[in-house]
């Protein structure tokens, strides 16, 4: 075991996988050379693996995605980095029309076993185009997997699984977690599945489902309220397809569910979770489904006062859990 940050865990996952499989490559804007990415996730990789396997791509996201698809077709587990989740938009056609449909449109003759990594999330004064949660755009496209680790352990284990996966994986990394969370993780090779939600804490008063920065708030709240209530905490992790079984089992235990996302509520991944619960578990509910989410404003503004107003905060989460537990 050694203590790593979320970012170090990601870097370690890529390093280990590139050592294990010579076909693994990584590229994106500012990913190569001595810089190693604007957040430093790929730092040191070019030095160890050379400029052919670790390189800067030109500034064109559609090409980054298409390049990965082509490498995937040829059997390379390519890792493409989109510098910010907001910058993924020019690549939507490549992701939806090529990466996601390659296996299906050829009935398995061709596949696109690639990882598309991208940092998302707000609270860093990044304004409109460095704060968004864009996973909702893709959540609902069969053929694609969308995952996000919310713990240091999962950061390493899930990225390794994503690189080994034969499916296209959109890998969302919460940029605020990069350096803010640290944990002891095994030094050995381990993987974490891409299609399973994770019950982090067990309880029987109320179930809370979250991911990303919001999961940290939920864990803090659970600790704060532990003498009063017993809280089941679920890390959603697999944003598409959603792990229905784990979600339903967790809400059936308590009959009360709080869903937390920093994304604007309309069309969010948590709306999808809510729909599953409403459809499958009506008779197990003891309270209306509660969703705590960002407001339906077009994006997260820059000014501190506006950013604070947009973001769900620790107090909101604690209060909502208490209210639901007391319902």
């Amino acid at each position: 075991m050694s203590e790593k940050s979320y970012l170090e865990a990601l870097n370690l996952a890529i390093t280990e996988e590139m050592r294990r499989d010579e076909g693994v490559m990584i590229f994106g804007e500012d990913v190569g050379g001595v810089k190693g990415g604007v957040f430093g996730v790929t730092k040191g990789l070019a030095e160890e693996f050379g400029d052919q396997r670790v390189f800067n791509s030109p500034l064109g996201e559609s090409e980054i995605a298409g390049l990965a698809v082509g490498l995937g077709v040829m059997g390379h587990h390519a890792i493409a980095e989109f510098q910010f989740a907001d910058y993924i938009l020019p690549a939507v056609n490549q992701i939806m029309s090529e990466a996601t449909k390659m296996r299906y449109k050829s009935a398995g003759d061709w596949i696109s076993p690639i990882v598309m990594r991208t940092p998302y999330g707000g609270g860093v004064r990044g304004g409109f185009y460095h704060s968004q949660s864009t996973e909702k755009i893709f959540a609902g496209q069969p053929g694609l997997r969308i995952v996000t680790p919310s713990t240091v352990y999962d950061a390493k284990g899930m990225l390794k699984s994503a690189i080994r996966s034969e499916d296209p994986v959109l890998f969302y990394e919460h940029k605020k977690l990069y350096r803010s969370i640290k944990d002891d993780i095994p030094d050995v090779d381990y993987t974490v599945p891409l299609d399973k939600a994770n019950v982090i804490e067990h309880g029987d008063d109320v179930t809370v489902i979250a991911y990303g920065m919001m999961l940290q708030f939920v864990l803090n709240a659970a600790e704060e309220l532990k003498d009063d209530f017993s809280i089941e905490v679920v890390d959603l992790r697999s944003l598409y397809p959603i792990d229905k079984d784990t979600v339903l089992e967790a809400i059936r235990k308590t009959g009360k569910v709080l869903l937390v996302t920093e994304d604007a509520k309309e069309g969010s991944v948590m709306n999808n979770v809510s729909a599953i619960i409403a459809e499958e578990a009506l008779f197990d509910l003891d309270a209306p489904i509660k969703i705590l989410a960002g407001p339906d404003s077009p994006s997260m503004p820059y000014a501190k006062s506006l950013e604070d107003a947009f973001l769900v905060n620790q107090a909101d989460v604690t209060k909502s859990i208490r209210e639901l537990a007391e319902f």
Partner: protein, 408 residues
């Protein structure tokens, strides 16, 4: 040799019809597979249509310049091969598996909506029978539920029709001797109105007893003479309608209706009366009853009853009622709970007049004529106080009747 029908093929996405612009073959012609046989024009394309097989043209089924839907038979031919295939896409039957629907045991698991209604109406769900899958109790089951203790007047079928009380009917197994009749349109409409009233109006019920000895005396003294002078009988009912109409002037709240969260107080006093036939119930209206004398009301009651019998009620006879007075006494009822004639605020049931041994004001005994008046009211509009005040005024009006009362 076999017969082959050529159909107009699809000519472009979204195209629904095409024109035969020119036949390139005629009956008797020999054609080879893929030889052009006609030129067709659609919104999207102008094109030659090839033959689907080798053969001889039998008949052209459409004329040049005819516009025909895609898929129309356009040509009949005899093929030289074995069995000619018809050039339309086979329709494959598609089996749609049912989605995994939430499964649950029917008993003991109630939806939030069922629990809410049951709570509001104080219904014990164990006594409700469910009509849903596996016997699940649906929200509608709870809404339609009537407890067994509800006063129900049992009477002849013809009279039942005039008694607006519904009973919840448990499903009974059919016996060989049971007669099954499909509900006709009138019966269905009655059923709908009754259900609507019960679903939407929270109905409360109250009853008072009235001493009508004076009324009985007056009516008995006049009835023979009245019959000679008029074409209709003088019954007790018009006296009650008059007493109600007069009381409504001072109690306008009873003369109102609840519509879209608004309470509408009606200026006109139009009394609906229930008139039954063998298999249906009508509620024609005595317009401006407050302006009519007792004789005038009697005349109107008689006219409306005749119209019902001869099936000559006009639309206007059925419109505009603001409250209903129902003559349940005519078939011997002494106590009943009416269902409000939607969307009115109240219905008054006039029960049988009966003789009773009573203690009089001077503490002696006497034989008096008594009648029960039963009022069902819309509890959204009216409370017990308003209803009581109204009923007491009706009672006072009736008890004031004596030999001096003018019926004309």
């Amino acid at each position: 040799m076999s017969e082959l029908i050529i159909k107009m093929p699809p000519l472009g996405e979204s195209v629904t019809e095409a024109t035969v612009s020119q036949w390139m073959v005629k009956p008797g012609d020999h054609v080879k597979k893929y030889d052009p046989i006609l030129e067709a024009i659609s919104d999207k394309v102008v094109t030659e249509i090839p033959s689907n097989d080798d053969g001889v043209i039998e008949e052209l089924l459409v004329n040049e310049n005819d516009v025909v839907p895609i898929g129309t038979d356009i040509l009949k031919m005899t093929t030289e091969g074995a069995v000619g295939s018809v050039p339309v896409a086979k329709v494959e039957t598609r089996t749609t598996e049912s989605q995994n629907s939430p499964s649950f045991k029917a008993t003991g698991r109630f939806s939030p909506a069922v629990l809410k209604v049951a709570g509001e109406r104080n219904i014990d769900l164990s006594s409700v029978s469910g009509t849903g899958k596996d016997g699940r109790i649906t929200r509608k089951d709870v809404l339609n539920y009537q407890p067994k203790e509800t006063p129900i007047i049992s009477s002849q079928p013809a009279q039942l029709a005039s008694e607006p009380v519904i009973r919840s009917t448990p499903v009974l197994e059919l016996n060989n001797n049971d007669a099954v009749t499909k509900a006709g349109p009138v019966r269905k409409m009655i059923a709908q109105n009754m259900l609507k009233s019960i679903h939407e109006i929270p109905q409360a019920w109250t009853m008072i007893e009235v001493d009508v000895t004076g009324l009985v005396k007056l009516r008995n003294s006049l009835k023979n003479e009245f019959k000679e002078q008029n074409e209709f009988k003088l019954s007790y009912f018009p006296f009650f309608v008059k007493a109600v109409s007069s009381a409504l002037r001072n109690n306008p709240k009873l003369n109102s209706s609840w519509q879209n969260d608004e309470i509408i107080q009606h200026k006109d006093i139009n009394i609906s009366i229930a008139v039954a036939t063998d298999d249906a119930l009508f509620v024609p209206v005595i317009k401006h009853a407050d302006r009519l004398s007792i004789t005038g009301i009697a005349a109107e009651v008689s006219r409306l009853a005749n119209c019902v019998k001869t099936n000559t009620l006009k639309g206007s006879d059925n419109e505009g009622g603001t409250i209903t007075v129902n003559n349940t006494g005519s078939f011997g009822s002494i106590e009943s709970m009416g269902i409000i004639n939607y969307p009115q605020a109240a219905i008054l049931q006039v029960e049988s007049i009966r003789k009773e041994l009573s203690v009089l004001d001077d503490d002696t005994f006497g034989i008096r004529n008594k009648v029960n008046l039963c009022l069902t009211l819309d509890h959204r509009i009216l409370d017990g106080l308003a209803a009581g005040k109204f009923l007491n005024e009706v009672k006072a009006n009736l008890e004031a009747i004596d030999q001096n009362t003018n019926i004309y």
